[in-house]
């Protein structure tokens, strides 16, 4: 069964910490995406990547960076975590062919 795997289901970090969220897909997909989901605001795109070492800003990139050193792995980095980054983070991947997204199960991050 094809999968997108996010490294942690729940995560609690302290303000100011550097946080890494990892996402791995086994479908050889070219495109990978990071979204955050907040009540009342829906899903918002943070960053996406269309190839190894390539990245593009989404709608809310401030306070985040990403890394894609290998095709199957896309990491989201919170350089200095803040309480307003408490959220559900969702990773997705898709092929360059016209098909849909496959999502991971999400990481619920709490910054205290």
């Amino acid at each position: 069964d094809v999968k997108v795997t996010q490294s942690s289901r729940y995560l609690v970090k302290r303000t100011g910490e550097k946080v890494f969220l990892e996402c791995v897909q086994d479908m050889d997909h070219e495109n990978m995406f990071w979204y955050r989901q907040d009540p009342g605001l829906g899903l918002r795109l943070i960053y996406f990547s269309y190839d190894v070492k390539m990245k593009e800003k989404g709608d809310i990139p401030e306070g985040y960076s990403v890394s894609r050193e290998k095709k199957e792995r896309f990491s989201l980095i919170l350089e200095s975590a803040s309480t307003n980054q408490t959220s559900m983070y969702l990773c997705a991947s898709s092929s360059i062919r016209p098909t849909g997204y496959t999502f991971g199960s999400g990481t619920r991050l709490t910054v205290v």
Binding site: N31, Y35, M88, R108
Partner: protein, 110 residues
Amino acid sequence: GIQVEQSPPDLILQEGANSTLRCNFSDSVNNLQWFHQNPWGQLINLFYIPSGTKQNGRLSATTVATERYSLLYISSSQTTDSGVYFCAVGGSGGYQKVTFGTGTKLQVIP
């Protein structure tokens, strides 16, 4: 960017009933997807349907791209259909980047 509106925002159904969810969008699209988010937060892709009609079991979807809307039909609803249904659309920007609607929250009661 493209605006996406979903209706209704909330829906309560008796088990066995049918329903129609609507997604309106503001511009031409080359990517339209329907998702179901279950109560545990997992998003499942139901359809990739930038145009035309598709069916999968009790679910079907129709997109009329020229009129900028898509419909998701749920027939003979079951309690496991509960959750939030999202429509996501993408334009000509490439890389299959999409914008999500705010969702329809469905509750199916026994």
